[in-house]
């Protein structure tokens, strides 16, 4: 990752006001934020801080009251529902707190889902889905349904699904919110590795400071305002958190091996 690469997400003067009855609730006051290509950015805040609102707006799921969001220089708040759907299909992956896998489908079918919407032929799709499942360490769980998997496994399927279309940006909404600590670390490792593999940008929303340890940039948000932005040196995360635990989880070799095998 190069620190001064291009800006992928640029948030300018973002404001969001909800109207509940006659009352106005200000969720975000004034947000200005730039996220660079390849950055792993963590938006950290307590519940009610407006962090999820920010994420939803960056993903185009909600419209801002004021301000603009440029993703790859395109103002997404001006897009129609139709255009947004297309835009998401091409550029964005999404990881949910509650995994949100389709319960009727197997792991492989879930992962292949975004590719179906892109119109990719079945054989190619499955090959790719298998590759990504292998990358998240689920090479032996292709045909399991979500109900037959643990939370950690389900979230790994979710991660594979988010990355399978090689989107430039992956949004993760409390990805470890439903997981225990050990599994959380596991999931964070995987996400970190996956993102680095193709120089993808990840925006993670969380209230868990542990998760924030894996980020290159941590944006502290409170009462709808950015309190502080911490940036870490380039290899800091790797040296401190990834390397020491590498042996216990999936190794870098595993990932490259899986990737090359599938190619």
């Amino acid at each position: 990752m190069t620190k001064h690469s291009e800006v992928v997400i640029s948030v300018k003067g973002l404001r969001k006001v909800y109207r509940i009855g006659n009352e106005k609730v200000v969720a975000l006051r004034q947000i200005d934020l730039d996220i660079h290509r390849g950055e792993i950015c963590c938006i950290l805040g307590t519940s009610g801080s407006g962090k999820s609102t920010l994420l939803n707006m960056m993903a185009g799921l909600e419209k801002p009251s004021k301000g603009t969001i440029l993703i790859k220089s395109e103002a997404i708040e001006k897009m129609s529902e139709k255009q947004l759907a297309k835009f998401r299909q091409r550029n964005i992956g999404f990881i949910f707190q509650s995994y949100n896998l389709l319960s009727a489908l197997t792991a492989i079918e879930n992962v292949a889902m975004p590719l179906i919407f892109r119109g990719m032929p079945k054989a190619l799709r499955e090959k790719r889905a298998k590759k990504y499942l292998k990358m998240v360490g689920l090479g032996d769980r292709y045909h399991h349904k979500p109900t037959q998997m643990s939370g950690g496994q389900q979230q790994r399927v979710g991660i594979a699904r988010a990355f399978v279309g090689t989107p430039e940006i992956v949004f993760a909404d409390e990805p470890t919110g439903n997981l225990d600590t050990k599994t959380s670390i596991e999931v964070m490792h995987i996400m970190w590795r996956m993102a680095r593999e193709k120089d993808q940008t990840i925006v993670i929303v969380t209230h868990d400071p542990e998760v924030a340890l894996y980020a290159d940039k941590v944006v502290n948000i409170r009462d709808g305002d950015i309190q502080s932005v911490e940036e870490r040196p380039e290899d800091d995360v790797y040296e401190k958190f990834i390397k020491p635990y590498e042996e216990s989880f999936i190794t870098a070799d595993d990932i490259t091996e899986a990737a090359s095998a599938a190619l």
């Binding site: 939803n56 993903a59 799921l61 909600e62 529902e81 139709k82 759907a85 297309k86 998401r88 299909q89 992956g93 999404f94 949910f96 509650s98 949100n100 389709l102 009727a104 889902m113 975004p114 179906i116 919407f117 892109r118 119109g119 079945k122 699904r161 988010a162 279309g165």
Partner: protein
Amino acid sequence: MNSLELALMGIKNLLRRKARTILTVLGVIIGTASIVVMVSLGLGMNKAFEQQLEEYGSLTMIEVYNNRGGYMVMSDSGESSSVPEGEVAFNDETISTFENIEHVEFALGMKRFDGTLYAGKLQSWAGIMAVDLEKFKKLDIDLSEGTMPSADGVNEVLMGFRVSEDFYDPNSRNPYSNQSSVDVMNTKLEVVPSSSYYDGKRPRGFVITPTGLTSEEDWDYAWDIFIDYDVFTKLKADFDRRNKNNDDDNGGRKRSRSNEDQDKYDQMKISVDDVKYVQEVQEQVKEMGYEAYSLTDALENMKQTSGLIQAVLGGIGAVSLFVAAIGITNTMVMSIYERTKEIGVMKVIGAELKDIKRLFLFEAAMIGFFGGVFGVVISYGISFLINSVLSGMSEGGGYYGVGFLSDIPYWLALLGIAFSTFIGLAAGYYPAVRATRLSALEAIRTE
């Protein structure tokens, strides 16, 4: 997202909710089957009626009469020489005019004379139809025995089968109550071409040679004796000359030559090459100033009536399909509630709005389609049942011919399937649009 993937996904979704899908499809099956069966009853009615009409006579035949109210008035009144202005002739020229109309195969002129038929002691009134035998042969009249007469033989005639049954003995005490039949084919028959009643001594007529007897199936030609026009007029002229003093035929003889030409025939038959042109030709003939009738008049009437009955029956069926359509909508709306999260997730991970819409439309259309297919299959079953049970009941009363009570032509089957599929689509439209409007954010929040 390509259509095949979409179809597979849709079918999977339907199979996931088997019970509900089957129940919804069942509604459509009932709806489709009731429409198809109802309409089939109407169609069967039409078909049965057509068959029945064909027994009465040919559907491609038009009967034409002169507008003037018939020659009877003229010959009886004796002052008929003045043909009212604007009236039309009814002669050989008329025939060629008719034959020049498009789709007309041929036109046949006929003139009816009254006569008395003698067979030994017995006698009978008889209508004598003078026709052009060459064309008459083309009518394809069913015979129960013998052959068609020809102009070359000696006074050859075709006997209507009813003619043989109305003979009576004028000398018996109660002549009219004791009618007896005569084997007309093998009895010497003498015709007096006059309807006058002769007390005691009757004039001498002429002997006829029956060559054939019409079939009892065909009531069109049952009552008369058919003879060649030229042969008959010659015989009649002879007869009239021999019986100059009989006043009863004076009127006829007084007729001027030209008037006789005008009224050479009193009835014509026009044969049309196809049933579908009959009404057209009939209209043209009417425009020329003639009275024209055909069995298609009755058929048109019947078709209108049965069209109405079909509409009413179909309407009843349509109500149940309408209920089924509401069922589809309900099922799909329920399905949206159930799948809110799924739809939201699909939207977030890259489904386009049209994918979602198509998916829901497809599922609804499939419900309609399968309902239609099974509905049609069941309709055939019901139709078979109706036909076999009811035609079994009417056995013996065979006058109405084959028991075609329900008839499902293949176009009705296809139409039934197409219609129910369309109903499915229409019923699925609202839910589909609703699914696309669903907020992805709301959807994924649903825990």
